[in-house]
């Protein structure tokens, strides 16, 4: 599955879950400046398909990734990071997106901020 096909699938899944996703969003907050494949600015939820072909691994270097994930740990934002180096299948990506969105809903409900 190509990155474009993967992004289309994720866009459909996130939209279906009620998120207003803007594609190819330039995210710049504090010391983090990256391009995200999908981002809902209001819900602060998105997804990023980290592929070498698109040069994402340069933007999401280890230090940037660490800062990004630290903010996720604090609950400030939630981005599904498709970090797999191997082949990504439609079924596996769909299942991962469903799992991520369910977990996100659970966490949001816990703090009363579901979209």
């Amino acid at each position: 599955m190509t990155e474009a096909e993967g992004c289309a699938l994720l866009l459909a899944k996130f939209t279906e879950a009620g998120y207003a996703i803007a594609s190819d969003f330039h995210f710049h907050e504090g010391d983090i400046e990256v391009d995200l494949d999908g981002w809902d600015a209001k819900a602060r939820v998105g997804y990023e398909y980290i592929t070498r072909e698109a040069g994402d691994d340069r933007q999401f270097d280890l230090a940037t990734l660490a800062r990004f994930e630290m903010r996720m740990e604090k609950g400030e934002l939630f981005v599904l990071l498709v970090d797999e180096r191997g082949a990504v299948t439609k079924e596996a990506l769909g299942a991962a997106a469903d799992g991520f969105l369910a977990e996100l809903k659970k966490q949001r409900e816990a703090i009363g901020s579901a979209p």
């Binding site: 994930e69 996720m72 740990e73 939630f78 981005v79 599904l80 990071l81 498709v82 970090d83 797999e84 990504v88 596996a92 990506l93 299942a95 991962a96 799992g99 991520f100 977990e103």
Partner: protein, 472 residues
């Protein structure tokens, strides 16, 4: 200037290629012929060496060894006390065989290693079976493509730190669920625990299997050692004799043939003719190798040069499709077959002359022996053969006298003659047979001289015509 059209030039190139191919085939045929003949000669050489060794050393006792050493000048041999060494070896073998016999690993070999009922054999089979069972769960886990990653990432333990917002986390989770289903365990923690335990068991069984295999291998090695030593013990005298004979023959063929001939001749030694036969056969094999190698190499070089010329002509002609000046064409079209034929004739004659030679006894008329000259009667230059060349180098004053008959007439030594032979020369049937041989040889020489205007003469009248049969 006259010109030859390109089509004709290319046809001629093709024809010349066929000529070269014919020569290559001839070389291949000759190489095969030489290999076959060489095998026959090697067998003959082995028989000659065997006969020589047997004659020089009929038994392996002190007096016989001393006599042999004296006859052939192997002065150090008696001091080696070969019979004593054989006896010491016999003692050692007897001791070692006894020692092996009482070793439990050997004494109980059937009990331990019988293919079906041996205790070690059965223990090994059982352990392998248990190992197979223990490995089933391990193999099921390891067959899953993501299992290694799950173990490395500590999945199913408190140390697992995969972040749920990563795609890889969900992949790991799916894989863990698949493994739980496949193994029928309640959770991946249980899968992990069972796997770790299984690995430990497999390692234990592997160690036991290795131990049993080593024990079986050690026992089998002992059986092989016993069998080999038993054989040696039972054939010790024959082996000692054969070994010493081998050394004697090696010594005889390793020293200068002239010196050894002089020594044996002066002592009217019964070994003289056997020595000359073995020495001559060894020389023959190396000469034939040299002749074959030299001719084939030379011819191959020539054929390769011709082949390259044809390639150049063809390329040039095809490129411009230009006609060729008649003078150049005549050179190209020259039929080289007669030239090759002449070369094969010359080489074949030399090869065959050496091949058929078997008058080993004639060497005894000479103080300086170069087998090449004896075989060819000094008529062919053999300096391209390494052995001949080195002889010339080490004997700068050497000159060959082809008149062996005069030397025979003035031969001042008494050849060995046992009393039972009625005073006739006993040379194992190899010496000249009086006038008959001379007449045959003379007739052969006349015949060969008549057939060969270049003056080459075969050494023997019964020489097959190698040249006319393409060495095949």
């Amino acid at each position: 200037m006259s010109w030859v059209p390109a089509e004709q030039v290319l046809k001629t190139v093709e024809w010349q290629r066929q000529v070269l191919a014919e020569q290559q085939k001839r070389i291949a045929d000759f190489n095969a012929y030489h290999a076959t003949e060489r095998q026959k000669l090697e067998a003959e050489q082995r028989a000659a060496a065997h006969d020589l060794g047997q004659a020089v050393l009929p038994r392996l006792d002190h007096p016989t060894i001393a006599a042999a050493a004296e006859a052939i000048g192997m002065v150090g041999l008696p001091a080696e006390n070969v019979p004593g060494q054989v006896e010491a070896r016999r003692q050692w073998l007897a001791g070692r065989l006894q020692q092996i016999l009482t070793t439990p690993d050997y004494a109980q070999r059937e009990l331990l290693r019988h293919p079906r009922t041996g205790s070690l054999t059965r223990a090994l089979a059982e352990t392998q079976e248990y190992r197979g069972l223990a490995n089933q769960f391990v193999a099921t886990c390891e067959e899953h493509p993501r299992f290694e990653q799950l173990m490395a990432g500590a999945w199913g333990t408190s140390e697992e730190k995969a972040a749920w917002w990563r795609y890889s986390y969900w992949q790991d989770r799916s894989a863990a669920a698949e493994l739980v289903t496949k193994t029928g365990k309640p959770s991946f923690s249980d899968v992990r625990a069972e796997y770790v335990k299984g690995k430990e068991n497999v390692a234990t069984y592997d160690a036991e299997i290795a131990r049993l295999r080593n024990q079986i291998a050690a026992g089998e090695a002992l059986e092989r050692e016993y069998a080999a030593l038993w054989d040696e013990h039972h054939a010790l005298d024959a082996r000692g004799l054969e070994h010493t004979r081998g050394r004697i023959v090696q010594h005889l063929l390793g020293v200068d043939a002239s010196g050894m001939t002089q020594r044996l001749r002066a002592a009217s030694s019964p070994f003289l003719m056997l020595f000359l036969r073995a020495s001559g056969l060894a020389a023959k094999v190396s000469y034939l190798d040299g002749i074959q190698r030299s001719n084939v190499t030379e011819l191959q070089k020539d054929l390769a040069a011709q082949q390259q010329k044809l390639v150049n002509v063809e390329q040039k002609t095809r490129k411009r499709w230009a006609p060729m000046p008649i003078a150049n064409y005549q050179k190209l079209a020259e039929d080289r077959r007669p030239r090759y034929e002449k070369r094969w004739q010359r080489f074949g004659k030399t090869y065959q002359t050496v091949y058929v030679y078997d008058r080993w006894d004639r060497a005894r008329y000479y103080d300086d022996i170069l087998w090449w000259d004896l075989m060819t009667r000094g008529r062919y230059d053999g300096s391209y053969i390494p052995e001949v060349h080195s002889y010339y180098q080490s004997h700068p004053d050497y000159q060959f006298d082809p008149d062996w008959k005069s030397r025979q007439a003035s031969y001042a030594y008494d050849d060995y003659a046992p009393a039972s032979a009625g005073g006739a020369t006993n040379d194992h049937g190899m010496s000249e047979q009086g006038g008959t041989d001379d007449a045959d040889a003379a007739a052969a020489s006349v015949e060969a001289d008549g057939a060969d205007q270049s003056g080459d003469v075969d050494a023997s009248g019964d020489a097959a015509d190698l040249t006319s049969t393409d060495a095949s």
